[in-house]
């Protein structure tokens, strides 16, 4: 495993672990999701350089566009959770538990 692989694999894994285990604020969950997406973006844009397939270079931009849409939706839900629950604490979301 090269240094490059180690970099984006560990970036993805650490932000995934952050999303799974650091459950206080909704905004920090959104930031973790965004950093997962950014590490995927870096990996997807280095892949065509390493394998020399220039037809693939459009794909990272497509992925970035979708992750921006996702971040926008997340921020919209941040606003709506602040309006309905009063804050963005994730432990306030306990109305539906079994």
């Amino acid at each position: 495993m090269s240094l490059l692989h180690l970099c984006f694999y560990s970036a993805f894994t650490l932000s995934g672990l952050g999303l799974a285990f650091h459950r206080t604020h909704f905004i920090s969950a959104l930031l973790c999701l965004e950093s997962m997406m950014l590490s995927l973006y870096v990996a997807l844009s280095i892949w065509p350089i390493q394998t020399q397939t220039p037809s693939f270079t459009l794909i990272p931009v497509l992925m970035l566009a979708f992750s921006a849409c996702e971040a926008g939706t997340g921020l919209a839900m941040l606003v709506s959770s602040t309006r309905t629950h009063g804050s963005d604490h994730l432990h306030n979301l306990n109305l539906l538990q079994c």
Binding site: H5, W47, M63, T73, L95
Partner: protein, 346 residues
């Protein structure tokens, strides 16, 4: 909700599902899943109630993480093999990560905790969409990659979800949560067979969609959200309640009804593959499900409560019922004699 916004969301749902099921490239499959996730969120949170907002937040976080995990698994596969083809998933680590991502998307146990809560926070029609349409794209990805997945892991996931789906459904009084746990245990039945006979798994999924749509549409006609409402709903629509009982027993998999067909064929295929122990365990676990379906059916038709009713009376209204309910209910009760034809034509 604004009809234009609703139209756009529905069209995006159809587009996203079509993109995923017709794609051959991992990035296109991921794109379809993302479109699906982004399109269902306004439908979940359309009644601006705190419960709906909470359900949409939970759904969004889980699905976004699962999509990212799916793209990560295909990307690590592409780094080792140079392939972006869906059917060419060969790296074992990527296969495990993909199985986890699809299990999160489908609500297979032990990744199922979001599913009953999200269903509880939405309306009955959106719950129907979530448990049928939203499961179709991940199911097709599982179908296309079924040759390279790990059989031990999938069988374990399937047995755990059949157990937990039956077991946790025993304790519920809300119909949407009961149907969510029934969906989890049906997903277990589909996952146990996907390696050995992928087409049978897809047939099981179609029949599950048919039966669960019949049940959800019948419940939506009488707006039944909990068991105590169900006890008095016979005053509203007596005939519909009788057919609802048949649809529920079909979902449980009792022999003269449609729901027996997938269970029968799956048990036969598992026995052919010399997995007799798995077949015995999973057929025993369907008894747990049978208990809560029977309780639903019992409350739907058979009894009056012996005490005086302490809940609001329901009025008999001549409301127009959806003709789809009749078609789906009759299909979900009478399709068993056609099983040889369906088995050969699928």
């Amino acid at each position: 909700m604004n009809p234009h916004a609703k139209l756009i969301c529905t069209l995006s749902l159809i587009t996203g599902s079509t993109i995923t099921i017709s794609s051959n490239h991992w990035v296109m499959a991921w794109t379809g899943l993302e479109i699906n996730t982004l399109a269902i969120i306004p439908l979940i949170s359309k009644s601006h109630h705190p419960r709906a907002v909470e359900a949409s937040i939970k759904y969004f976080l889980v699905q976004a993480a699962a999509s990212a995990l799916l793209l990560f698994s295909s990307m690590s596969n592409a780094w080792t093999t140079g392939q972006w083809d869906i059917t060419q998933l060969t790296n074992p680590t990527s296969c495990l990560l993909l199985t986890a991502a699809i299990a999160i998307k489908l609500g297979l146990a032990p990744f199922h905790f979001w599913f009953p809560e999200v269903l509880q926070g939405t309306s009955l029609t959106t719950a129907l969409l979530l448990s049928t349409v939203m499961k179709f794209p991940p199911m097709t990805i599982l179908f296309m990659t079924s040759s390279s997945l790990n059989p031990t892991m999938l069988t374990t996931l399937a047995l755990i979800s059949a157990t937990l789906g039956g077991w946790m459904g025993l304790n519920q009084t809300q119909t949407r949560k009961i149907l969510a746990f029934s969906s989890i245990s049906h997903m277990g039945w589909m996952a146990v067979i996907i390696i050995y006979d992928p087409k049978l798994s897809i047939l099981t999924f179609y029949l599950y969609v048919l039966m669960t749509a019949a049940v959800f549409l019948s419940l939506n006609t009488t707006k039944t959200l909990k068991l105590s409402t169900m006890m008095t709903s016979w005053t509203k629509t007596p005939v519909l309640n009788a057919t609802l009982m048949l649809a529920l027993l079909s979902l449980a998999g009792l022999p003269p009804l449609t729901g027996f067909m997938p269970k029968w064929l799956i048990l036969q295929e598992l026995t052919k593959q010399e997995m007799t122990v798995t077949a015995v365990i999973i057929s025993m676990l369907s008894l747990l499900g049978l208990f809560f379906y029977l309780r639903l059916a019992y409350y739907a038709t058979i009894t009056l409560p012996p005490n005086s009713a302490n809940h609001m009376k329901q009025w008999h209204i001549n409301k127009h019922t959806n003709p789809m309910t009749a078609i789906l209910t009759s299909l979900s009760t009478t399709l068993l004699p056609l099983s040889p034809m369906m088995l050969t034509s699928i």
